[in-house]
């Protein structure tokens, strides 16, 4: 179970025409990806690539990974038929892949377990990470506590303010949270600061990136560790319904939960794949995080990808009610899947996500994170247009405990 895809992918179905063979030797998915880092980091990136390549071929590494995913994370996560929500919306049968039930409450831990095992294998003694919503920070702090490694998490000051519960959780877990006040104080700025830390501490430090972005091999490696989501869901849906879904939907910030859900379905042309970006206050408001729908290709944080930028190539601030989607870039594999039109990319606004957040709570008894509430907002748009025998699979990638304060404020409730 929980197999990491090999370069000739694990389904056995993928030949030379497979969409699952990327990236190439330069870390490119089509024109996107690559390794755009300062020379100081370049030898580290190359060493990481070699170490990951060895690890994923080593049965002992997979065994250790599977053991932790099963007994510590709690995998496989359930597949839930959201029957009341399906009836309320009318139309398609909706299934949730419940990665919000993982230990720490989101899909982020899947990747953290994989990378912390790799960091140990590389004999690194200090871990750094960036975080937006704090879910990746909490997951990183968790695995560092589990393995007794010191952990520093960079987090924008805006995010520190709107995600207080997660800041406290990280501290309880023994991590040091360093607030970053540069820029708008969000995920982009936290990532800049983590890269600055890494460049100053190259010998002992492992940078545990939380999404499918950054220089090669991170986009590939994080995708591989997250693909357990789609692999499980595929098998679970086959058991429940005897077939593939008609549509699979996931929200996109950097895009790790979506890549994890989509990758195992890329070679199944009958499955429509839909990624939902954050439209913030509206796609034409200038305050959104829709890198694919409103950005253009450029280079930031080590990879070539779609970015929100001005005419001079300066990076624009993203906006979303969801701290986890508040990023002006996106993983390079998504940029490629967008260009070749294998995945459809759409957007949901703050208001639509808030409505979906409440709908999910009241119909299914599940308080979702604001991030997957964006995916659900799109599900709510398309489900009524589909037949009752059609199936939507949605990744419920995080739980909403962290968001209740921000949501209460938006709803005008004082806690």
């Amino acid at each position: 179970m929980n197999e990491i895809p090999n370069d000739v992918a694990s389904t056995g179905s993928s030949g030379s025409n497979s969409l699952r063979n990327g990236p190439d030797a330069r870390g490119r998915f089509g024109a996107y990806g690559g390794r755009f880092v300062a020379e100081t980091l370049m030898p580290l990136i190359l060493a990481l690539e070699r170490a990951y390549d060895e690890a994923r071929r080593d049965p002992a590494f997979r065994e250790e990974l599977d053991y932790h995913l099963e007994h510590y994370v709690g995998r496989p996560s359930p597949l839930w038929h959201a029957a009341r929500l399906s009836r309320a919306l009318g139309g398609a049968r909706i299934y949730f892949k419940r990665d919000e039930l993982n230990h720490t409450g989101a899909h982020k831990i899947n990747n953290c377990i994989g990378q912390i095992l790799l960091a140990r294998r590389m004999a690194k003694t200090r871990i750094i990470a960036e975080t937006g919503a704090g879910q990746h920070g909490v997951a990183t702090a968790t695995v560092c506590a589990l393995f007794g490694l010191p952990c520093t998490v960079y987090m924008g000051t805006t995010d520190v303010e709107r995600q207080k519960p997660n800041v406290f959780r990280m501290k309880l877990l023994g991590a040091e949270v360093r607030p970053v006040s540069a820029g708008a104080g969000t995920l982009k700025d936290a990532m800049n600061e983590a890269l600055r830390d890494w460049v100053a501490n190259v010998r002992d430090t492992y940078y545990l990136i939380g999404t499918v972005a950054g220089p090669h091999p991170y986009p590939m490696m994080v995708r591989d560790f997250q693909s357990v989501i789609g692999e499980e869901a595929k098998a679970q849906l086959r058991a429940a319904e005897g077939r593939l879904p008609d549509v699979a939907v996931a929200c996109i910030g950097g895009g790790s939960n979506a890549m994890g859900l989509f990758h195992p379905f890329l070679d199944d042309p009958s499955v429509r794949l839909i990624g939902v970006e954050a439209a913030g206050k509206g796609l034409d408001s200038g305050e959104h995080a829709a890198s694919l729908l409103r950005g253009r290709p450029g280079v930031l944080h080590g990879n070539c990808t779609y970015l929100l930028q001005d005419d001079d190539g300066q990076i624009l601030e993203a906006h979303s009610i969801s701290a986890g989607l508040d990023y002006p870039g996106i993983g390079p594999e998504h940029s490629w899947l967008h260009d070749i039109q294998r995945v459809e990319y759409v957007a949901a606004t703050d208001e639509e996500a808030l409505a979906a957040f409440q709908l999910c709570a009241k119909t299914e008894g599940i308080i979702p994170a604001l991030e997957p509430a964006h995916a659900l907002a799109h599900v709510a748009k398309i489900a009524p247009t589909m037949r009752a025998d059609e199936i939507i699979l949605m990744n419920l990638c995080g739980r909403g405990d962290k968001d209740i304060f921000a949501v209460a404020e938006r709803l005008g409730v004082t806690l």
């Binding site: 690559g34 755009f36 100081t40 980091l41 890269l195 501490n201 280079v299 190539g313």
Partner: protein, 276 residues
Amino acid sequence: MTRIAARFASLRRAGRGGLIPFLEAYDPDAETSAALLAGLPEAGADLIEIGVPFTDPMADGPIIQAAGRRALNAGATLRRTLAMVRDFRRTDADTPIILMGYLNPILSYGPEPFARDAAACGVDGLIVVDLPAEEADLLLPHAKANLLDVIRLVAPTTDDARLPKVLEGSSGFVYYVSITGITGTRSATTAELAANIPRIRRITDLPIAVGFGVKTPVQAAEVVQIADAAVVASSLIATLAASLDAKGRAGSGTVARVLGDVRALAAGVRGARVAA
């Protein structure tokens, strides 16, 4: 011969190392920045590095980050930075100008038109921090076609096996990043430099400049006893920042104070005893 090669040849003839001060284009405003640039050669700059402002300068410490924010607020763009160099060339035909920055503004401009316009404006060399040797084919052919030197960064983490790859296609000079870290933080020791510079000399005949952490005239003098030039950035920008008023505007003494620092650095570099 390119301006950079000519300048290093004349430094060699004079038996001394060079000083390469850095300024961020448009910091704190277009006029002050242009006045600083115009005054640098007379103050003792042998070559000049101009930082191209970028929103996300991942290799820079707080001092240069702040300079970049001031510059962007003052309306800096890559196009305007090139125009600043063009204006400088009206009064100075000899001092080499090197642009240092990040890749995305160049990509946004278009690598080919950028290389053409940069050369036409009188730029001599390019340092692109986030463009390692592995990705350099994106810019290198256009730079070469326009006789622009592409100057490579070599770091303490660049081992001997990797050095030839890093230096492949590089010209002008080699920029040795003397520490593992961001700009304006710690300084390398003379022993660290003495261990690393010969490593690079064995692979290339290009001159070697040392930057990151070179702050004082004494440090600059130490650097040029081992390498061919010293780059000084953050300490000059710190002087500039300290001269600004509460609203971040240049005062009447801003240009003079920064150029005063440059004069002291130049005196340090010129007084250093250089091994033949």
